[in-house]
Amino acid sequence: MATDALDPLIHVPARLRIVATLAALPDGDALSFTRLQKMIGLTPGNLITHLRKLEDAGYLSTEKTGNGVASRTSVALSNRGRSALETYTAALRNLLAGL
């Protein structure tokens, strides 16, 4: 099945779950790294790798607050990431409708 129309950055199970989970939050909200990890079920290392790829593409933003043990990293889907997911969903729908 031709999957060229699907955004390769999102069309990976782990990243699809990350983007879909963050998209469930209202626009302007961020999720802590810890809770995202708990919800997705990835190891911290894997999650960081996927987040970095999505961040490099401008699909999400991360923010670190505090220092030492009190430090906290939050992840939020950007407008670009939200519209990329919408485009991906539409492409997926078209692809499946054509079957």
Binding site: M1, T3, L6, P8, H11, V12, P13, A14, L16, R17, A20, T21, A23, A24, L25, P26, D27, G28, D29, A30, L31, S32, T34, R35, L36, M39, G41, L42, T43, N46, T49, H50, S74, A76, T89, L92, R93, L95, L96
Partner: protein, 213 residues
């Protein structure tokens, strides 16, 4: 496929599996962030029905109206406390790790709600001071007043955010509050309690329906 790997195996990822995963993830995430949950809404409905019902049982048949008994008031506050604990627990579960605009908006909603709620009790004191009867001050006002003013404050907030479900709920509360006042100082507790409970149960049904849609 191992979803914990970091490899970009997108081309091997079947679109049908992707569609299923997307749908499942979205639904699961929405459910985890959802506040209040349908279960909490039903708990609130039952607690409010029990609280208003306890007052109604203690005042029905009073002529002239002399107000609820001390035991009924204790029961009222006990149910409110139980509902508040359940709300706090649920809020912590749903909002854990979430920060940003919606958290700030929830705090900003609390301000007009608390102000409106307290205003009802200040108004009750003023009415009593001005010589209004027990039936108005300790019957109609405390039963219907909070629903009207808190409902109106919530409706304004919901309209500004274009949250139509919350707007519908708020307007229904205002309608229940205003309509229940026709039932008189004793009956208002029963009518408002049943009406409030019915509105919340309807909300829970809508929430469940939205989850499945």
């Amino acid at each position: 496929m191992d979803e914990t790997t970091t490899g970009d195996e997108g081309s091997e990822f079947d679109p049908q599996a992707a569609a299923r995963l997307l749908e499942t993830t979205k639904r699961r995430a929405r459910r985890q962030f959802e506040f209040p949950s349908p279960l909490l809404t039903v708990i609130q409905a039952v607690a409010l029905l029990a609280a208003y019902g306890a007052i109604w049982l203690s005042v029905r048949g009073q002529n002239p109206y002399s107000g609820p008994s001390g035991a009924a008031l204790v029961e009222l506050y006990a149910f409110i406390a139980v509902a508040s604990v359940a709300v706090g627990f649920e809020a912590r579960r749903a909002r854990a790790g979430v920060s940003g605009r919606s958290s700030r908006q929830q705090w900003s909603l609390a301000i007009p709600l608390v102000a409106a709620f307290l205003a009802v009790y200040v108004l009750m004191g003023a009415l009593r001071y001005d010589g209004f009867s027990y039936a108005i001050v300790y019957g109609i006002m405390p039963a219907a007043g909070p629903l009207i003013v808190v409902g109106a404050a919530m409706a304004g907030y919901a309209a500004a955010r274009e949250d139509w479900q919350m707007l519908g709920l708020s307007v229904a509360l205002v309608a229940v509050g205003a309509g229940s006042a026709f039932a008189g100082p004793s009956g208002v507790w029963g009518v408002a309690g049943v009406g409030f409970c019915a509105v919340l149960v309807c909300r829970a049904i809508v929430q469940v329906w939205q989850r499945r849609a």
